[in-house]
């Protein structure tokens, strides 16, 4: 039981997908201008990533490995993820037009989110079982959401701040992201004192 907890907590904080693994930076920079969109994007990513981890585990374990087709892993994972994202978009558009409006063009961005491909691949290399895969995917997505929301909160304030001209816009955002990354790196030191 504790091992599962560690998988989740580790994915959320210690190995935060954005700040420590440096994955999924494009949506992290792109969708973090407003808090509402950040929350929506985080929720959508959480859903997609958890589904993608489950689906890719099944494909890997029952389709690719028995047929010795491991070299197709990346390709088949991408196809699966793309399909899940499309499906999610269609369902959201129908069931929650509001959320679809908030996410707008950002939802298809999840398709190209390297975190969504990276986490299923990490699942394979870390030899996670099915439940662990799901939890790892979920945890990573929560970590991504956390990073996105924190960053969006800061960026909303940055918009009103007196930033020196040359640092305005993306430059100050990058610096902020770097500082936040440093802070999250601090979690890695936790296990030394256990």
């Amino acid at each position: 039981m504790t091992s599962y907890l560690f998988v989740v907590l580790g994915a959320v904080l210690v190995n935060n997908v954005v700040f420590v693994r440096i994955l999924g930076l494009c949506p992290f920079m792109g969708v973090s201008k407003k808090l509402e969109t950040a929350v929506g994007m985080g929720a959508a990513t959480t859903f997609v990533l958890t589904m993608a981890c489950g689906a890719s585990f099944v494909i890997d374990r029952w389709l690719l490995i028995p047929n010795q087709l491991e070299y197709l892993r990346t390709l088949s994972f991408i196809v699966t993820i793309a399909a899940i994202v499309q499906l999610t978009e269609l369902v959201i558009q129908k069931t929650s037009p509001l959320l679809h409006q908030v996410l707008g063009i950002y939802l298809p961005l999840i398709t190209t989110n390297c975190a969504v491909l990276g986490i299923p691949l990490l699942n394979v290399s870390l030899r996670h079982n099915f439940l662990e895969s799901l939890l790892f995917g979920f945890g990573s997505a929560v970590g991504f959401t956390l990073a996105l929301i924190l960053f969006a909160g800061i960026r909303e304030r940055l918009e009103a701040a007196d930033v020196p001209v040359h640092f305005r816009g993306t430059a100050i955002a990058m610096i902020t992201a770097g500082l936040m990354s440093l802070a999250f790196m601090g979690f890695a030191g936790l296990d030394k004192y256990k």
Binding site: E156, R157, E159, A160
Partner: protein, 563 residues
């Protein structure tokens, strides 16, 4: 009596130097009527009153010169009798330095009143009383000039618990309410009795800051007399701790009753309504004496030799009032209101209006220019001082960056612009200026949006109308063609019928007569070649005639149809 009253506290507030003693030393004096009165038509919140007089007309004291524009407006009256010199744009007592429509009256010195009649509000319906007060121009005299008749409404429950009379007067330098309570306590309470009856309020709480012991004493004596006369204990004078802004309506309600009116609610929802003591006085004058609001008590203070309270007619130039008080030579500005919330006037020639509780003369020495603004260090002093429980530093942050939506999320419109935050700010940021800027921008945007919505609606309606008109035209045209065809067909049918109308008959008779005449002439004029004919020739002629007749008979129907 006040010892029985449990007091509450409002959050924040500051204690600036009060500077009130200078103007309370002397009793209220009546300011002399100036040589020219400039009475702005728009003196209260709400619609701009319509001018009712023209240049050249003679007006009497108390005559209505501006009619209320709709219910959310208030009338304006002539302050004295005289001739209307002009109805024109004049400089307003407003920071903008802009002009607005004013009635300029040259007093004739006779000070002749209109016929004054007390208004029996007990016999009139509440709506009639409110309309009367609207036309008497009674507005809140605390400074916000909100029409009083709109506030004298007990709300959805039909009655209130508490009527609060605001005598706190917390702003430095201003003492107009203080001296009014000292000298005319009885009249104020008579007004309060009228208000209480209109609102069906259970009790009247009169909140006075404890730095006005004379006013408290005077009001207590008057309240006791009023209670004795009424045989109850409804009137209570409550001394409240001196702290700026205890005179804010929401703050005073909080201190006296413990009720905190939340965002988006009115105090009447909680059974409380608050009026300034000056307003109660004006209500009494309007209802019991039939005198509309034409003057008020104005404190003249600041950089003057002898500060004093004057009863000034509306329209009196501030310059005249200041001149009565020996202004010091270094005076360089006139502020309407106090140093915390007052508005800088564009000049000293602007008139005294209903909102003028104080004419504050300033100088560089008395109000030195603020030190340069420094960056906000987010120390939170402003939040500690805010009596409206807001976060001024957040509202400042977003107002400064012109992110108005966010500023509104921090409840910018609950800000009463009391100036406490700017007073305590260690970075000397003129916070209130930022809030005023943000508020007016948001208002302007809302006005624009409303105009755009109306334009969109009208444009869409026009398109709809054009489409409808097109269809109607097409339908009309189709109907017309159909009608034309029908008419033609009817005409044919008509012609086919034998003679029917009398008109036709006469015509036919005429034609027949003409034919007869022609026939007779023909018979008279016998053709020459038919005389002396042989019998063979005659027989031939008869045969030919017969044939002709036959042909005529045969041709008849054809001819008719061609007709």
């Amino acid at each position: 009596m006040s010892a029985l009253q449990r007091l509450f506290k409002f959050h924040g507030g500051v204690k600036p130097a009060y500077n009130k003693e200078a103007s309370t030393g002397l009793p209220i004096a009546v300011a002399p009527t100036p040589t020219l009165l400039v009475i702005p038509l728009h003196q209260s919140i709400g619609g701009m009153p319509r001018p009712l007089v023209k240049a050249g007309e003679r007006v009497l004291k108390g005559q209505r010169i501006g009619g209320a524009d709709g219910n959310a407006s208030s009338a304006v009256h002539a302050s004295t009798s005289g001739a209307v010199v002009a109805v024109e744009m004049r400089l307003m007592p407003h920071t903008s330095g802009l002009s607005a429509l004013c009635v300029v009256i040259e007093p004739d010195g006779r000070d002749e009143w209109i016929a004054r009649q007390p208004f029996d509000f007990r016999k009139a319906s509440p709506t009639q009383t409110r309309d009367y007060l609207r036309d008497a121009g009674v507005v809140g005299l605390g400074g916000a000039v909100f029409p009083t008749h709109l506030k004298l409404n007990p709300g959805k429950h039909g009655k209130l618990d508490t009527l609060v009379l605001n005598g706190a007067e917390c702003e430095p330098f201003i003492t107009c309410d203080d001296v009014l309570m000292r000298e005319r306590a009885e009249t104020i309470l008579k007004g309060a009795i009228i208000m209480r009856e209109m609102l069906s309020a259970r009790q009247v709480l009169i909140g006075i800051e404890d730095n006005k012991p004379e006013a408290i004493a005077a009001m207590e004596i008057a309240a006791q007399a009023a209670n004795q006369a009424a045989g109850d204990l409804a009137m209570q004078v409550v001394s409240v701790p001196t702290r700026y802004p205890a005179g804010g309506a929401k703050q005073l309600i909080r201190v006296l009753t413990g009720i905190e009116v939340p965002h988006g609610k009115r105090s009447t929802d909680y059974g409380v309504q608050c009026f300034n003591v000056g307003t109660a006085y004006a209500v009494y004058e309007a209802i019991a004496l039939g005198q509309p609001l034409i003057s008020r008590i104005v404190t003249v203070a600041g950089n003057v030799g002898q500060a004093r309270n004057y009863e000034a007619l509306f329209g009196t130039p501030m310059r005249d009032l200041v001149a009565l008080c020996d202004p010091l030579p270094d005076s360089d500005r006139v502020i309407m209101g106090g140093p915390m919330m007052g508005l800088l006037m564009p000049g000293d020639e602007v008139p005294v209006v209903k909102a003028t509780n104080c004419v504050l003369v300033g100088s560089r020495k008395l109000f030195p220019p603020p030190p340069p603004e420094m960056p906000c260090i987010r120390c939170g002093e402003c939040a500690k001082a805010c009596p409206a429980d807001l976060q001024p530093f957040e509202m400042y942050w977003f107002s400064r960056a012109k992110i108005f939506g966010k500023a509104q999320e921090y409840k910018l419109f609950d800000c009463i612009e009391c100036g406490c935050c700017a007073y305590v700010c260690p970075s000397h940021i003129p916070l209130v200026d930022y809030y005023r800027f943000a508020k007016s921008e948001i208002w302007a945007r809302e006005v624009d949006k409303e105009a755009a919505d109306i334009a969109r609606e009208r444009y869409e309606f026009r398109l709809l109308r054009e489409e409808r008109e097109k269809q109607e035209k097409a339908a009309k045209l189709a109907a017309k063609t159909a009608a034309g065809r029908e008419k033609a067909a009817a005409a044919i049918a008509e012609a086919a019928k034998p003679a029917a109308t009398p008109e036709d008959d006469t015509k036919k008779a005429l034609i027949a007569a003409a034919l007869e005449r022609a026939k007779a002439q023909k018979e008279q004029v016998h053709p020459g070649n038919v005389s002396n004919l042989t019998p063979e020739q005659e027989a031939e002629v008869t045969a030919i005639e017969a044939r002709r007749a036959e042909i005529r008979e045969m041709a008849k129907p054809h001819l008719r149809q061609d007709d």
